[in-house]
């Protein structure tokens, strides 16, 4: 069974953390991943930086620009990750934009992910219908779970469609926004989380965008399986470097 599915079967709320590979320094990738796992994080999204990250707010954009300046490339990331499964056992997901994957070759990219032990991909600008028609078979051949996003504006019919072609979890974007845009959740978000949870989808939901502390983590996971933190973690790295990652995780989980 895919590590993501195993994790989703555990009886607990999941904390997933996003970071941009190549930031703050080009060679931080491995120690960030190891530190996150040791600090009690359940799942990691490794950001493959892109020059034009449309769905991202200023924090992740800036980290992507810096990572590219530091020399991060697809090849380099794969090289860094080649022995990652010797030391890390939690699910690892690569999150990026479709163009770098297309240039690497979709099949070659998926094959490489399988060799390394990557469990899934999140490619926000690969639309569900294109995935379904052109790439689903390739992803499945290499045992990769593709994760789709939904937003408060996504119609019920489309959510059902996305649920039908997903086999891991659904990434619930907390509000109509780019990453990092938000500082707390109101009634509108809570109602949305609850509305989706009542749809009885086959895939559990994990909330992302706008989660930054224990309060928002708790709100987000009341009706869902877990939450993803990105911008807040990048800001933490910017301010503190990579040495005290467990402190960040502790403030989120209040352990």
């Amino acid at each position: 069974m895919n590590r993501i599915n195993q994790k989703l079967n555990q009886d607990k709320k999941l904390l997933s953390i996003y970071f941009t590979a190549g930031y703050p320094n080009i060679d931080d990738t491995i120690s960030i991943i190891q530190n996150l796992e040791q600090s009690g994080v359940d799942m990691i999204e490794i950001g493959l930086p892109f020059s034009d990250p449309l769905a991202d707010g200023p924090t992740i954009q800036a980290s992507s620009t810096a990572a590219l300046k530091n020399g991060m490339t697809t090849e380099k990331l794969f090289e860094q990750l080649k022995d990652i499964r010797k030391s890390v056992s939690i699910p690892l997901i690569i999150m990026g934009y479709f163009n770098p994957v297309l240039q690497y070759g979709v099949e070659a990219f998926c094959k490489k992910c399988q060799e390394i032990g990557i469990d899934g991909l999140i490619l926000p600008d690969l639309p569900a219908d294109v995935y379904d028609e052109e790439y689903k078979a390739i992803f499945e051949k290499y045992g990769l779970i593709n994760v789709f996003l939904i937003t408060p504006q996504t119609s019920e019919e489309r959510i059902r469609y996305i649920d039908s072609i997903s086999n891991g979890f659904i990434y619930m974007v907390s509000s109509a926004s780019t990453t990092g845009a938000q500082s707390g959740f109101g009634e509108e978000q809570t109602n949305y989380f609850e509305r989706i949870s009542k749809m009885n989808l086959k895939n559990p939901q994990i909330v992302g965008f706008g989660i930054s502390n224990n309060e928002t983590f708790t709100q987000a996971t009341k009706f869902t399986k877990g939450a993803i933190i990105g911008s807040a973690f990048i800001k933490y790295l910017t301010a503190n470097g990579i040495s005290n990652i467990d402190k960040f995780t502790k403030t989120i989980l209040k352990k």
């Binding site: 892109f50 020059s51 034009d52 990250p53 449309l54 769905a55 707010g57 200023p58 954009q61 800036a62 620009t65 590219l68 490339t73 697809t74 090849e75 934009y97 479709f98 163009n99 770098p100 994957v101 297309l102 240039q103 690497y104 926000p124 600008d125 690969l126 639309p127 569900a128 294109v130 789709f148 996003l149 939904i150 937003t151 504006q153 996504t154 119609s155 489309r158 974007v173 109509a176 926004s177 780019t178 845009a181």
Partner: protein, 393 residues
Amino acid sequence: MSYNINTKGYYGEFGGAFIPEMLYPNVEELRQNYLKVMAEPSFQEEFHQLLKDYVGRPSPLYFAKRLSEKYNTKVYLKREDLNHTGAHKVNNTIGQILMARRLGKTRIIAETGAGQHGVATATVCALMGLDCIVYMGEIDIARQAPNVARMKMLGAEVRPALSGSRTLKDATNEAIRDWINNPVDTHYIIGSAIGPHPYPDMVTRFQSIISEEIKWQLKEKEGQENPDYVVACIGGGSNAAGTYYHFLDDESVGIIAIEAAGKGIHSGESAATSALGKEGIIHGCKTLLMQTADGQITEPYSISAGLDYPGVGPLHSHLYKSGRGEFYSATDDEAMQAGLELTKLEGIIPAIESSHALAVFKHKTFQPEDIVVISLSGRGDKDLQNYIDYFKL
């Protein structure tokens, strides 16, 4: 072969809508409605009325006698430079503002590079009394001060794009991000035949008034609707798409595209996308674009801010790949010389973008009996300082 868009939003293998889910409802609303709205008689009536009384259409098809003599062929200029606001861009912004109103949108956003599309958008927003926010790269804001001032006077808010390379592609990213954050009340007026489906097709249809007029104007002047060649410069490709549109399926009409070679195709400072680009995804569209081997989008260069885009619209990728279009690129120097030449021979100062189209004569020799229609997409007022600096006038 068909050169029109198919029902899935592709020209051959190019096009589509590679957008994050956050944009899906906005783009889908437009996709489901744009053809229906455009087909409404009341829409057509209002669109054509404004093109006539506000923009000043039809734009003349002018026989350029002295230019024709110089190159020993028959040259007609399609005078988009005479439109209100000084370029073809306004054909599209009039169409899209009417579309936005029919979809009940109250807030308009746009991206701009040189500021021409920003001015054309701010103009129609003033006309309709709608809020207007124009994203413009921080670097372009500094380079294009007069157009920034015009937009502000027209009541638009000009927001600097501070991310990435701080030019047109980043302004486009910022506009898309704004749309993600404002999915309900906002319409995004894209300025060229780029972006996710249905934008390339919608912009092309609004600009197709150019070739529609060429047909009857040429019939009046030459007794035939079709020229031997239509020529246009390509940034994203909206004036070109409009100039080609009604000739696409008639292979007796040669289609010629001129891109900006900047300091030379292989100088590392160029915007010649068909020569330097590879298939990929930019701003929600599968098309040819300039990128690194790793799939990072690179920054183009041209003396003309309006051609400074790392991709081309999907129609043009298809015309290039299928061989239907002949693609050339003009360097900064060739374009500037061609612009000065038109000024001296015909008394018309062209936009530097349009000067690239006029540089076609540096790359292709026509027969004396050929009828060559060149899209004069804009006037040179905005570029005066550039011409003065270049020629030390």
